[in-house]
């Protein structure tokens, strides 16, 4: 079959419509970047220059003072966030990869209903269950501990990580699994030798999104750790932005610092992430 889409004749109308497409895309790109632009230029201004009247103006010079001040205020919590998020993201991804494997390749009676129950559980309004959460964690001795918080994040992550990996594994033909069984692979063997090696895009997606989700959480982290000095960085940012002072440049700098890790992780894993996202629908 010839690719007629590429053989469109070159015409002025064609050129114009290409131009229009790029124009729209660039306009949207500017729209999407606009808030970040504001955050960044405000953070780079000294306090005296931060005036609502001149909000859009570029800073006179590059003042990193506000970043220094913001960092000194959020650094301890930043550290907490790393110690919470990195293990939690990794562990919950692995749990999801095994659960997803089970749901997709080892269907037992009732596993579909079970899976649906998992999914429905995703939509728990966590702000409303903080009290039973505390009481339950306390009764198992996990209250106030970082381990407890990691545990809770993993539990809340069980449904979606399982969903993601299940979807991904469903794209892998069952024949591969059968072949493995014939070769003598058991439950763990198939996971380890057949599915795990090709699960990289799925891991990228799950890791990225668990990282983002856990990093951006604050109320669960705060309540489970029961101590503001152990709380995640989002709490520190809120302390600054929710206050009665108007040190805008420091607040913006703090917001940027808090947002940085997720952006960095996203940029680094971006390609793998898109591949994982698209892997669901594009067949080779």
């Amino acid at each position: 079959m010839t690719q007629t889409t590429r053989a469109k004749p070159f015409s002025l109308q064609n050129l114009f419509s290409r131009f229009a497409i790029y124009a729209v895309l660039i306009a949207f790109a500017l729209y999407f970047l606009m808030p970040i632009y504001v955050l960044v230029i405000t953070a780079l201004k000294p306090y005296a220059d931060v005036s609502v009247a001149r909000m859009w103006e570029l800073p006179q010079g590059l003042y990193f003072e506000s970043f220094v001040v913001a960092w000194s205020k959020v650094a301890p919590n930043f550290r907490n966030s790393i110690l919470i998020t990195v293990p939690a993201a990794i562990i919950s991804s692995f749990i999801g990869s095994i659960n997803g494997y089970i749901f997709s390749k080892w269907r037992f009676r009732g596993s579909n209903i079970l899976f649906l129950l998992f999914l429905v559980g995703m939509f728990l309004p966590y702000q409303g269950v903080l009290i039973p959460m505390v009481l339950t964690l306390r009764s198992v001795g996990l209250y106030g501990k970082v381990v407890g918080l990691i545990f809770i994040h993993c539990v809340f992550g069980i449904p979606i990580t399982a969903l993601m990996f299940r979807s991904y594994y469903q794209g892998i033909p069952d024949e591969l699994v059968d072949a493995g069984k014939i070769d003598g692979c058991g439950f763990f063997g198939i996971y380890r030798y057949i599915l795990l090696p090709i699960a990289a895009p799925a891991f990228a997606v799950v890791l990225l999104w668990q990282f983002t989700s856990i990093w951006n959480d604050f109320i669960i982290g705060l309540v489970v750790l029961s101590n503001p000095t152990l709380a995640p960085v989002t709490v520190a940012v809120q302390n600054l932005t929710g206050s009665f002072t108007t040190e805008w440049n420091v607040q913006m700098a703090a917001a940027l610092i808090a947002a940085l890790p997720t952006i960095v992780v996203y940029l680094a894993l971006g390609k793998l992430f898109m591949r994982g996202l698209l892997a669901g629908s594009v067949k080779g």
């Binding site: 990794i90 501990k145 990691i150 000095t229 206050s243």
Partner: protein, 448 residues
């Protein structure tokens, strides 16, 4: 579908490693955390607590004092404490979103109290905010003995001890007193319209406001984005129209909330709002001082933390007076600390309360915070002109509790009250709002 290439593995490793290295390099939290940093199960966290009072141990203080003069004041009190009890490690668990704001701090406090792991001591507004919550539920210790041994029964004013008490026993120690009913005004603008002193009644204020309006100046600074701001203004109008005796009666059933004076107060509030600065509905409470300091509005009815805020903004062209119609009345609110039952470091907390109620502690805290001490024997040299005046007023004025700041009524009523004022200011339907307010009062069972 490719394998996890070496390159990608390295990327993961690099990111993870960089993250952990960064975490290792950044300073650890100010105090050693109760929980271990590494994800390994530990022995009971109670093992960290040291036994004897004079020896050491920890002291975890919850508050919502996270910025500015508040933090400085708190740290000053910590210094006083540390000088007396050097072995104790103070954990400053300050978090925004405190009592009236219903945010993070309140959520954390509630989950800990209900979860059976109370903080050693926590900041709370003196009065019903504490009494109707944790005192009534039996979660706070009675401080009668401490009041006796520290001599507070003679040095705290009676009105304050009453606010602190439930069934005759005090449950918290007030550190400071703020005044709710203050009118802040721009001096230059007042001179510009030929007025030489602050309006004494609301009628006078409206005359003044019209003069300002003729000059194109907005008379009232309003933070419309936070409806609780107007609720604060309303309580002071209420005191003015109904008088302090009847105001007190509102909370013990002696005065009815459908009193015509309450209706008048609502009408006055609405009328005052017609003199608000343009775009006032988008201004948040945290931004209101700028409105005053930039001259966008000329007067403001707000608590006296405004003084500290304006000073820190280097604004000086202002002065103060009691909110119109409330001369001789002191609408008070206070920050206090109590002793929850079952705390881990009880002796340390008792010592903390002693510092809170001591002359030294209060004189260290209040000048920085911008409030006056609860004690009647402060070292006046430490306080500026506004505070000196206020200390005097506090001695002689009739003291009533603020609604908005948790003194006069329990928090659920304040919540309802805020909702009523919220609706009143935007809907402008006084009759409907009166009905709602009476409903809220019935739900609160005043005087029951």
């Amino acid at each position: 579908m490719k394998n996890l290439s070496r390159r990608q593995l390295l990327k993961f490793g690099a990111i993870g490693g960089a993250g952990l290295a960064l975490a290792a390099c950044t300073p650890p939290p100010a105090a050693a955390p109760a929980a271990p940093a590494a994800p390994a199960a530990t022995a009971a966290s109670g093992a960290a607590a040291a036994p004897a009072a004079s020896a050491g141990g920890k002291l975890e203080i919850f508050s919502w004092w996270t910025v500015g003069g508040e933090v400085e004041g708190l740290n000053a009190m910590f210094d006083v404490y540390k000088a007396k009890y050097p072995g104790v490690e103070i954990i400053n668990a300050a978090l925004s979103g405190g009592a009236g704001q219903g945010g993070n701090m309140k959520a954390l406090l509630e989950t800990r109290m209900l979860g059976g792991e109370p903080p050693d001591s926590f900041q709370v507004h003196l009065g019903q905010e504490l009494t109707a919550s944790h005192v009534v539920a039996g979660r706070m210790e009675d401080l009668s003995d401490l009041y006796q041994s520290e001599g507070w029964n003679t040095v705290f004013p009676k009105g304050i001890i009453e606010l602190a008490s439930y069934q005759g026993k005090p449950y918290s120690v007030p550190v400071n007193i703020h005044r709710s009913n203050v009118l802040w005004y721009n001096k230059t603008q007042m001179a510009d319209v030929g007025v030489d002193k602050a309006p004494a009644t609301w009628d006078d204020w409206f005359v003044y406001a019209d003069k300002l309006k003729a000059k194109g100046i907005a008379a009232l600074a309003v933070a419309g984005a936070d409806p609780n701001f107007s609720a604060h203004v309303f309580e002071n109008i209420l005191v003015a129209t109904i008088g302090p005796e009847n105001y007190l009666g509102l909370f013990n059933g002696k005065t009815k909330w459908d009193d015509p004076a309450v209706k008048t107060a609502m009408e006055t509030l609405l009328r005052a709002h017609t003199y608000a600065q343009p775009d006032y509905t988008s201004v948040a409470w945290g931004e209101i001082n700028e409105v005053l300091s930039s001259g966008k509005a000329s007067t403001m009815v707000m608590g006296d933390w405004t003084h500290g805020a304006l000073k820190s903004m280097k604004f000086t062209d202002y002065h103060w007076a009691p909110s119109p119609g409330t001369s001789g009345v002191f609408v008070a609110l206070s920050d206090s600390f109590g002793l929850p039952k079952g705390v881990k470091n009880r002796d340390n907390v008792v010592n903390w309360l002693k510092v809170c109620g001591s002359r030294e502690g209060q004189d260290a805290f209040n000048p920085l915070k911008g409030s006056i001490p609860a004690r009647s024997d402060p070292d006046l040299t430490k306080y500026d002109d506004y505070l000196k005046e206020t200390i005097e007023a506090f001695k002689t004025n009739t003291i009533v509790g603020s609604i908005q700041h948790g003194a006069a009524a329990k928090q659920s009523f304040v919540n309802d009250y805020d909702a009523v004022i919220n609706t009143l200011v935007s809907g402008k339907d006084v009759a409907a709002s009166m009905t709602q307010l009476v409903e809220a009062a019935n739900a609160a069972e005043f005087g029951a």
